[in-house]
Symmetry: C2
Subunit: 242 residues, 2 copies
Amino acid sequence: MQKAGNTIEVCFSPALFGLFDSKDCIVVVADVLRATSSICVAFEHGAGRIVPVETTEESMAYRNKGFIVAAERKGEMVPGFDLGNSPFSFMSRDLKGKTIALTTTNGTRAIRAAAGSYKVAIGSFLNISALCRWMAGEGKNVICLCAGWKNKFNLEDTLFAGAVVSYLTGKAGFYTECDSALAASHLYEKAKPDLYNFLENSSHRKRLQRLHIEKDIAYCLTPDQTSVIPVLEGDFLVNLNS
Amino acid sequence: MQKAGNTIEVCFSPALFGLFDSKDCIVVVADVLRATSSICVAFEHGAGRIVPVETTEESMAYRNKGFIVAAERKGEMVPGFDLGNSPFSFMSRDLKGKTIALTTTNGTRAIRAAAGSYKVAIGSFLNISALCRWMAGEGKNVICLCAGWKNKFNLEDTLFAGAVVSYLTGKAGFYTECDSALAASHLYEKAKPDLYNFLENSSHRKRLQRLHIEKDIAYCLTPDQTSVIPVLEGDFLVNLNS
């Protein structure tokens, strides 16, 4: 990884994000199982705007404003909400032009944590190539912020971050001196032949296995299902490509 | 990694240690380049006790009590101190029965962070097998706390943690559902054939390269140079095996 062009760093937890100088960076938030994958699916299916909120109460308050409300806690849809956190639930409704209020355990909080940076983008395997192509042309340093699980490191977001590192340092002339980026890239290269099986022992995978959503996981690990690039504008996520 | 016996977890940063329930655990603190390696060398060469302190001022105050004082900041010995942080400097002095006050950038702070647990032990490649054999017989869960660099993830401490995970889950019947432990173990298995070269691009290695201490690094990555097991007793590190 030669010194040339922009840098790519990886942050393994929202709790560590304060250690990074993100003001002039593009921050890619990843919570690939499943919040940021579902956000990509929602935009692919025509959603207009998505407001990420911290609490289920806050989310419910948006229903009165005509929003579709989506909420997940501990991997399951919260009773009384329109949608949970499964990417398939975002395919089954007519979302054309609709605004969605979304609260998830980890993803939403990570998005909020990154809000002070040059630009916050939403990353998942589903939009990874479109996202990386866009970042390669922006001339900005990049930080991948892994949402993790309650501020702890997780494998699936790290593999996504590693894929971004591999892409940007490979094709786009980025370089890195960030140990987290190097580790993520090593892990991704090892996992790449079969991400699904590599994650077999991971903590979140086990958590989701108990919920019988193997289909969600397989889908969320499939690259390049969409070219949407969700970015934060004020309080709302919008699709840069719409 | 089957469910049986005790668990092993890995914490990548002192800033994340509060997320772990460490009260009844053995916590292994690792700052392998170079604080915890040098601590092992000091005990191997007969040091009686080592007091880890936070600040250079605190360390200097111990000189008046007849302590040998050691301090490193940004990888270099602080002027006016007896010793820095190179393992070789701890070999060159007569330390027999002496008490040392040691302050380092990251290691000391990690030791302090872990102080509320069942037992704090000091880990490095230099004492790894002795340490793991001892932990395998203690019947306690284990957390490896990587000192990192100013609370950021680093590769060298992660490789050490991965080696501990591989040892304990392999020979000692430990199991893990901790993603950090799985990641560390994957990285160690990849790096094992040549740790020195694997770290070539790492941030701290580059930092140390600028200081011309390649010899220190090579030594710190050499397994099983000693069977000391430094543990914290009150404010002091002592050698459990002395």
